[in-house]
């Protein structure tokens, strides 16, 4: 009996310690964003009793930060449009029809998933240059779409396959075209799949550092994660402002995550759980 209580306490202790390990640095980040820069040298850990909201206005007034945020938003949403529309179409065909070459196309999509994207950057760089897409948002959007599409198509094909075949026949008897069938009848039914695909693709794109580093050069085109590296260099001695900048970059996702944690967890582990 005592043993049982002890083991119970042990496993609860694991969770509590884990929660503290996760939350303390996050709290440190948020708290420090409201502290006056001068106060850090005296004591690095201290509650921000007198919140310095001016840290945030200083970040905003810096001028580049809002541009970086806007760029990240354009790139993330732009990629999402391509990914969702293309994956909807391809998933519809692969999940609803049996035809010759079906398994070949599956194989092709699968290899797309296995290719380490980081290593393709060198030829991609030269290819984008040749296509006049280097240092453009569109180029980056297409590369992101291509990277996320294989998994997105798989997820969507799975959702399409799970719908009963009778729906299609009924719609066709009523004279619906394939496009109407997809748009009016099936698309609303696979909405949960679209949500998973959206989270699965959007979070890594928003957070990505590597591809913008390689493909974007003009300062006014950079994304927020790339912009942070400039910002970090510029304000390395002004900790209050520095943390305010990090907070602005981190907060949108934290808030979304707290609102939609179930969908986030499902979406971000989508590639791994089904396997």
């Amino acid at each position: 009996m005592i043993n049982k209580i002890l083991t119970g306490t042990f496993f609860k202790g694991v969770l509590v310690i884990n929660a503290i390990m996760v939350l303390l640095p996050v709290f440190f980040l948020l708290n420090s964003s409201l502290r006056e820069t001068g106060s850090f040298s005296a004591n690095p850990i201290e509650l921000a009793r007198d919140p310095q909201w001016s840290n945030f206005s200083q970040v905003w007034a810096d001028g580049e930060f809002p541009i970086f945020l806007k760029n990240s938003l354009i790139i993330t949403l732009g990629s999402l449009v391509f990914i969702l529309i293309f994956a909807l179409g391809a998933g519809f065909i692969l999940g609803r029809y049996d035809f010759k070459g079906n398994s070949f196309i599956y194989g092709f999509v699968l290899t797309g998933m296995l290719i380490p994207a980081k290593l393709a950057v060198l030829p991609l760089f030269i290819q984008l240059k040749w296509m006049h897409l280097i240092d453009t948002h569109l180029g980056l959007i297409l590369v992101y779409a291509s990277g996320a599409l294989p998994a997105a198509i798989f997820i969507m094909a799975g959702f399409f396959r799970s719908l009963p075949a009778d729906i299609d026949s009924a719609a066709r008897i009523d004279g619906a075209s394939e496009f109407q069938l997809l748009r009016l009848i099936l698309a609303p039914l696979v909405r949960p799949g679209m949500a998973i695909v959206a989270i699965y693709s959007a979070i890594p794109i928003w957070n990505d550092f590597f591809l913008p580093l390689v493909f974007l050069q003009s300062p006014e085109k950079k994304t927020i994660m790339q912009g942070l590296t400039l910002f970090f260099g510029e304000y390395s001695s002004q900790w209050g402002v520095l943390f305010a900048g990090l907070t602005i970059a981190a907060l949108p996702l934290i808030i979304l995550y707290l609102l939609l944690s179930e969908q986030f967890i499902k979406g971000l582990t989508a590639g791994a759980v089904k396997g």
Partner: protein, 291 residues
Amino acid sequence: MFLSPGLLTILVFTSIPALTILSYAFFKWTGFQREGFAGLDNFQRLFRFPWRDQFFAALSHNIIVFIAIMVIQTSLGILIAYSLYRLKRGQRFFRTVTFLPVIFSLVIVGYMWQVMLNSYFGPINKILTDIGLESWAQPWLGQSSTALPTLVFINLWRWVGFPAIIFLAGLNAISSDFIEAAQIDGAKEGQVFRKILFPLLAPSMTIITVLTFIGAFEWFDLPYIIGGSVGSPAGATDTLALMFYRLSFGSADSVSNDIGVGSALGVIIFIIVGVGAAVGSNLMRKREVEL
């Protein structure tokens, strides 16, 4: 018509570039300009001065990181997953907290920890000093001996929730019949875990191992954000992907790039990751069946 836009995008922006990098490795390059056929010259140059030493140092870091992540992160992941699995109330809260760091950008995680580990003004050293462990306070990221282990720790902070959630899903998928049957037979909790739950987690273990392998041998973002493209301090955090980046696009201390050698290195990373992941998942699938 529905199918082609998606497939075309993948073809143009993933498949073709991935195939062309194979060909790049066999050509001579000046800057971004391709010249004559080079045979295996690029590969030979990779294994001569000065690349040879860099290559093996970076490779050893990738291997250390893979092993460290597998051992520490995976076992902690299982421990957290099982603790969550046992919990009857409040599971949702702890699950949300556990997964929280995974949504953070590595840029934010990297900078946050860089400041926290700052030798003079950072809270970590301050705490150590305050509790009387002054001798432990050190420039964690600034000295060769601790830089790589510290990066592994930061990686752990950011990632451990991922395997935890995968293993939790694996545990939840196990039929409660097995567990009840074992309990009726008088099995203790530890025995149930070792003999029933752990073996049945094998599919999750395969996925985590393969993903960790790929992640460890393409490790770039965190070392780049904290140590720059040269793996500061003194190359202590250099990785194959960083070296590939330097060779492809140049770096702070050698501006010119060398696409030939870079592509040769790319092909080698490609082979390590591809072969490793394929062989690993096959071996583990077999083991799964035996279990």
